[in-house]
């Protein structure tokens, strides 16, 4: 089963087309980087994939189901670009709530929370209120939330936002570790170097269309960087 798929998707807001005939496909275990300038339609694509919005036309499938079906989102870890966390909750309390919503119960739930906290290096801050954490640590909480319960698919929107260089390196490690155990990853980012290191496929969106896409090796010509390929695609 394909992990996620957009087929000829059009999404209009009034007369403006945020997405115009977009096709995307992510196989299990693969890593797809979604690139594009601001306003290219990356976030809109993620909203459609998670069932937050409906396409004007075309088909969207998440784990073989309509994304508006809650079961389609089982096993999906999501890190939004605008991460809003409950200020008064403790790190552990917030993650326990999210693990419960993810369908985890009892010891499985406690173990998932403990593992996620350990993974992102927040064991010593697990009882702290989220409101007392720095931006970088909050981003780690967001990552821990996305990684809860070993998801089959990670959807990450600007995942390294707010992280210091060490945090960026850690985040790369978490993404690669998830991929190694077979988790599919969709990363929307402006940081091309991070996409290059964590994904094997790339789709470059521009003005609501896929300007270029495919395996990294096919997209980036010999002697070129991903940045060169990106500029070539959006200026074509």
């Amino acid at each position: 089963m394909v992990t996620l798929e957009l087929v000829s998707v059009v999404k209009r807001y009034g007369a403006r087309a945020a997405l115009d005939g977009v096709n995307l496909r992510l196989e299990p275990g693969a890593g797809l980087g979604l690139l594009g300038p601001n306003g290219a339609g990356k976030t809109t694509a993620l909203r459609l994939l998670l069932g937050f919005a409906r396409p004007t036309s075309g088909g969207v499938a998440l784990r073989g189901r309509d994304p508006s079906d809650p079961e389609a989102r089982r096993g999906v870890g999501y890190l939004p670009e605008r991460l809003v966390l409950p200020e008064r909750a403790s790190v552990r309390g917030f993650l326990a709530l999210q693990a419960g919503l993810a369908g985890l119960d009892g010891e499985e739930r406690s173990a998932a929370v403990a593992t996620a906290i350990e993974t992102v290096g927040l064991a010593e801050r697990a009882s702290d209120r989220i409101g007392a954490l720095s931006k970088g640590l909050r981003q780690r909480v967001g990552f821990a939330n996305a990684l809860l319960g070993r998801p089959e698919l990670l959807v990450l929107d600007e995942p390294t936002s707010g992280l210091d260089p060490l945090g960026v390196r850690d985040a790369r490690g978490w993404i690669l570790a998830a991929r190694e155990r077979g988790c599919a990853v969709l990363v929307s980012s402006h940081v091309l170097s991070e996409v290059e290191r964590t994904c094997d496929h790339v789709a470059i969106l521009d003005a609501g269309r896929v300007a270029a896409g495919g395996a990294l090796g096919d997209l980036v010509a010999p002697g070129e960087t991903l940045e060169d390929a990106f500029v070539r695609a959006v200026r074509a």
Partner: protein, 262 residues
Amino acid sequence: MKGFALLFGEALADAIRRRIVSGVAIAALLSVLMLDSCTSCSPSITVNGQPPDLGELMGAAGFGAFLVLGLWVIALAGVLAADHLRSALEDGSATLALARPVPREVFALARLAGVLGVAAGAGGLVLGAAALLLAKRSHLPLPPALLAAGACALGALVVGALAMAASLVLPRVATILLVLGGMGLLTLANGVAPIGEGAGWLGVLDRFGPPLASTMALALEPWLTSVTIAGDGIRLAARLVAWAIGALFALAYGFRRVELGP
């Protein structure tokens, strides 16, 4: 069900933390103190040189006070609901929960339940104190108060759910004005219908609108000794239940249609 319970706990905590709730708590305490003061007084009133029937006076005063407090609780539910769901959408906090396998309607109903939890706390305090004080000091029977409190709870559900559904398409201030204006009109319609025999648009509102005041008034009627309130209690209660079901469906349907931010 587990998802609902988790989200309800979160929604209730959010509702309790809202600034308006401290004002509500103060208003509720003042109401209780006022009731305590009013029910402990011994009025010396004469009408045409004769003392009136104190039981009748206490019954009428208790009826009015309980009705006003009940309407206050319903309005409180509506005002709190006017942005309890909307704020979670606007600040983006809803998206983390809705990225999980949580049905949209479960999220919306949990937010509503959070609001109703606060309204139930305030209502339980104010109406409970009123019922006990009126029973102990004015010797008014308790069962009418219990029935009226039940009608109040159902009314709060109707107004809260409709306010929450309206908040998905209206700004907060407009939703609050709609709640307060709508409740004022409905109460007026319920009040004047027996006098005007239900004519005009107020009559239509009284016959088909959610019977917020009339169900409570009918429940409290045994407290009135010289006034009879006409109405079929079963039919009124059935209409209120129908409105409650309709309001919940409107909220669930409306929230399913809403597009969420990232």
